[in-house]
């Protein structure tokens, strides 16, 4: 097994942005792993979108085989180290744990982190590439879906090239999730694991500009579209161009790349939206030294899309929530700097939208101004419709039309996975779902292009160390 350089948290990260949840100590991991019942046909496995064999990896920790635990995790989920930190475990594996109700559920996420941290700090290379199949695959995007597809295709023996528009690989895990939840060294390790299989990462290459979609399709036998989504689209509010108006995704990205904005110190911040990205923007603002952070949302807590634990986390951070409040315009001073967010109160009008959520109407004469030095938009992400057009695949507003099981698009050589599909009902916009979609796309490609050989390739997917012993 190849030993890579050991990866651990970057010491230059300011303490407020360091990972908040401490790792489990060896003894705590031992105790917690021994508490697992090792259920048969365990509900936690079924609750995991990537079907990690959770009882198995936990038993491996309990029996002093942490490397084997890391293998079991990463085998099922190529971004298992990130998922250990960002998965909504309360709603997935831990929520399904049979111990709920009689005792605390097993801390599956933290045990998963313990095992994957071990692999990273020990510098272990967990997987080996498959025997070369002479087939080439191109992957657009190096986030959870792209990384997952690339890793699996490499294990099937494909030559894989990953095209990443940004300067660093890892996608949302590297740039879009706050570092105090997911430090950059974690996705960096996951990328390194895939790179070690011979996968070539081309960062700074945007399909459609540096390399055309046509060239991409000429180069590769199969293509996985895993480009995710773009930045926050403009709302069309007056004053969006003012200094002090931010895009939540860019804000998080800046804090993760070490470019900490100084304008938040002592500032009053209004965040528009109440999804998980809004929570990220709000908690980032708190850590950047903001004096007061308020989340402005046109619906109520009941409609909010942020996870309940994210909501709790923001409240503990001192973030205020202003429900039933619709931004009308952003007010600026003569220097073009934001001074306030004009809003109007809303109330439920008894109607229900097509998505089943309540509809709200403005309360007459309820306009007011929220004092603000900064306004952060966290109102969704832009679709990459032009990319879908260039690839020539059928899509609706940038969301490719696919076979939900495999991600196969209207072009038989192109598969799609991850957030690029979000909104089609093909899955949740979570890291773990993206990873599973990447895996499925890779399996579908391999099944198609390897034909009968696919089954034998699959059989060769054995632990590298075991393979050395054959």
């Amino acid at each position: 097994m190849a030993i890579h350089h050991r990866i651990s948290e970057d010491p230059s990260v300011p303490s407020a942005f360091r990972e908040m949840v401490p790792p489990l100590s060896r003894s705590a991991a031992g105790e917690e792993s021994n508490r697992c019942l090792y259920c048969y046909d365990a509900p936690c496995i079924k609750a995991c979108p990537t079907s990690i064999n959770i009882p198995s990896f936990i038993k491996r920790i309990a029996t002093g085989n942490t490397e084997g635990a890391a293998y079991a995790i990463m085998d099922a989920n190529p971004v298992g180290a990130s998922c250990a930190r960002v998965c909504p475990t309360e709603l997935l594996c831990e929520g399904a744990c049979v111990l709920n109700g009689t005792a605390e559920p097993i801390a599956i996420g933290r045990l998963q982190r313990y095992a994957t941290d071990f692999a990273a700090t020990e510098g272990l290379q967990l997987f080996a590439p498959g025997a070369p199949a002479g087939i080439s695959a191109g992957v657009i995007g190096s986030g959870p879906a792209g990384l997952s597809a690339a890793r699996e295709l490499a294990r099937f023996g494909f030559q894989v090239d990953v095209y990443e528009a940004k300067s660093v690989a890892g996608g949302l895990d590297s740039t879009g999730i706050v570092s105090f939840r997911l430090p950059t060294h974690v996705p960096a390790w996951e990328v390194q694991q895939v790179e070690a299989l011979g996968v070539r990462f081309h960062t700074g290459v945007r399909i459609g500009s540096s390399l055309s979609a046509k060239q991409l399709l000429e180069r590769h036998d199969a293509v996985v579209l895993a480009a995710g989504m773009g930045y926050v689209p403009p709302l069309g509010l007056e004053g969006e161009e003012l200094e002090g108006v931010h895009d939540a995704i860019r804000l998080v990205e800046a804090t993760k790349s070490g470019r900490m904005p100084s304008s938040f110190t002592g500032a009053k911040v209004a965040v528009i939206g109440a999804g998980n990205t809004a929570i990220d923007a709000a908690t980032c603002s708190v850590r950047l030294g903001a004096d007061k952070v308020k989340i402005v949302y046109r619906r109520t807590g009941a409609e909010m899309t942020a996870y309940p634990f994210e909501f709790e986390f923001a409240k503990q951070d001192g973030v205020e929530f202003e429900w039933l409040t619709q931004p009308v315009r952003i007010i600026g001073d003569e220097q073009g700097k934001v001074t306030g967010l004009e809003c109007i109160r809303l109330e439920a009008d008894g109607r229900t939208g097509p998505d089943g959520r309540r509809l709200f109407s403005p309360v007459p004469d309820s306009t007011f101004v929220n004092e603000a030095d900064a306004v952060v938009f966290a109102t969704g992400q832009q679709r990459l419709a032009p990319l879908a057009d260039q690839l020539g695949i059928s899509h609706q507003n940038g969301i490719p039309e696919v076979d939900p099981m495999t991600g196969l698009t209207s072009n038989p050589r192109i598969y799609a996975a991850g957030d690029v599909l979000h909104g089609t009902g093909a899955g949740e916009a979570t890291v773990v779902s993206a990873a599973e979609q990447g895996k499925r796309a890779a399996a579908a490609i391999a099944r198609k292009l390897l034909g009968e050989e696919f089954e034998s390739y699959k059989r060769e997917l054995v632990p590298t160390r075991a393979a050395e012993n054959v």
């Binding site: 105790e31 019942l37 048969y40 046909d41 309990a62 009689t102």
Partner: protein, 431 residues
């Protein structure tokens, strides 16, 4: 509050919890601390010719994250001069006249050696003597301990020699490293033993270090077998105590030893015939204060059971311990799963499916909720499911009404034999 005091072959103590002869009873300082903490008695670390101990002596077996499921040692008898021990015994007895202070003894199998040590020790004021015929390591290589304890005639002879000189009760401590413990127990009684104590430690190797490949423990890279004790040996000890208790040819009081960690363990040993118990590993694991929990638990248990004295427990379960041939072949229990308690971990299913009688089905109810169901006709009542079930009360072993009268294997064999005789007689008549 019930009366916790006991009398074991005339040796009295304020409660049934004695410290066994072992490292915790090495010095007067320790034994006095133990009595202050609440122990009812102590058997002093074995006296004899002082020995030299090795460095690195103990090892333990940890299981499933719990420490000290079993304990192993290669320490020998007292390494301190006899005079020092006797002086401390005298002081201890003077300070704690009501506590049981027993001296454990081990000398070469020679009559005069036994006479000499018995006299010297009794002169120090002990309440009784325990002959150590059990220590399995080190001393055995010198013809003492288990080496003499494994030879019934030597057990008998040495007991006799000790008895010739003794004026206090003599307890013979038996080794479990033997095929049938009742044989040595009977010979101890034939030699005049007033009581027996069991078990001493079991030959053991605690483990092998996966990195260095050394034994655990090792002494400079070499290891030797030690003596095993602690919670893991309790079932072995309990059986041996029970076998001695139900053997009419033994018939002397028993001091129960072997993995006793709690008041519950003590109750079990007493129900199986022990008149008192000795503890070591639990004290080594937690300190002398553990006796407070033992005393308190025992007290409340006796109150709850309405018993006035702990002695009322002694031997109550012995009549229920018999031979397999006397068990009713027509008795039946089956597993029943309480759906309201079950958490659906499916451990019962896979245990039954893979390793027992394939009678627990994983089903889905009309509401889509999964549940487990026992096919009672196929259930043999093995208990495995209820053993692996992690939730108390989820699986109950239910007694079924008798389908046929009691029939033991012995009765069945007798009946078959009788049939055979009858048919032979018939054949003879016909022939």
């Amino acid at each position: 509050m019930a009366d916790l005091s006991i009398s074991l072959a005339g040796i009295t103590s304020p409660n049934p919890f004695w410290l066994a002869s072992a490292p915790p009873t090495n010095t007067g300082y320790q034994v006095q601390r133990a009595f202050e903490a609440g122990w009812g008695g102590a058997v002093w670390k074995t006296l004899g010719e002082p020995i030299i101990n090795t460095s690195s002596r103990f090892a333990a077996v940890h299981f499933g994250g719990k420490r000290v499921a079993g304990f192993n040692n290669i320490e020998l008898i007292s390494d301190r001069p006899l005079e020092v021990n006797l002086k401390e015994i005298r002081e201890t007895k003077k300070r704690f006249p009501k506590h049981a202070l027993v001296a454990s003894l081990m000398v070469e199998p020679k009559r005069e050696k036994w006479h000499e040590i018995v006299k010297r020790v009794e002169d120090a004021g002990v309440d009784g003597l325990e002959l150590n015929f059990g220590c399995p390591h080190g001393m055995a290589e010198r013809g003492m301990g288990a080496a003499s304890g494994q030879q019934p005639d030597l057990v008998e002879k040495q007991t006799m020699w000790a008895k010739e000189a003794a004026s206090t009760p003599v307890i013979v401590k038996l080794t479990p490293n033997i095929t049938d413990i009742t044989v040595t127990a009977r010979h101890a009684v034939m030699g005049g033993a007033d009581a027996i104590s069991l078990i001493n430690t079991i030959n053991s190797l605690a483990g092998v270090d996966l990195e260095s490949w050394n034994t655990i423990p090792h002494v400079g890279g070499k290891g030797a077998h030690g003596g095993y004790c602690g919670p893991a040996v309790k079932p072995i000890a309990l059986n041996m105590v029970a076998e001695c208790a139900r053997d009419p040819k033994v018939g002397v009081p028993i001091s129960g030893i072997g993995g006793i960690s709690s008041w519950q363990d003590a109750v079990e040993f007493m129900l199986m015939g022990a008149a008192g118990v000795q503890v070591c590993t639990a004290a080594m694991h937690h300190g002398f204060r553990i006796v407070e929990e033992m005393v308190d638990g025992l007290n409340r248990y006796l109150d709850r059971k309405g018993l006035a004295s702990v002695s009322e427990l002694i031997g109550q379960s012995v009549p229920r311990y018999s031979d397999w041939g006397n068990l009713d072949l027509n008795y039946r229990v089956v597993a029943r799963i309480h759906q309201d308690v079950c958490i659906n971990c499916n451990k019962c299913h896979i245990a039954c499916e893979d390793t027992s009688h394939q009678c627990i089905d994983m089903l889905t109810g009309s509401s889509g909720r999964p549940y487990l169901h026992v096919r009672e006709d196929d259930c043999v009542g093995c208990n495995l499911c209820s053993i692996v079930c992690p939730v108390d009360g989820a699986i109950e072993m239910v007694e079924l009404p008798a389908a046929a009268p009691v029939l033991t294997w012995n009765e069945r064999q007798r009946a078959l034999a009788k049939l055979g005789t009858d048919s032979m007689e018939t054949e003879a008549v016909e022939g």
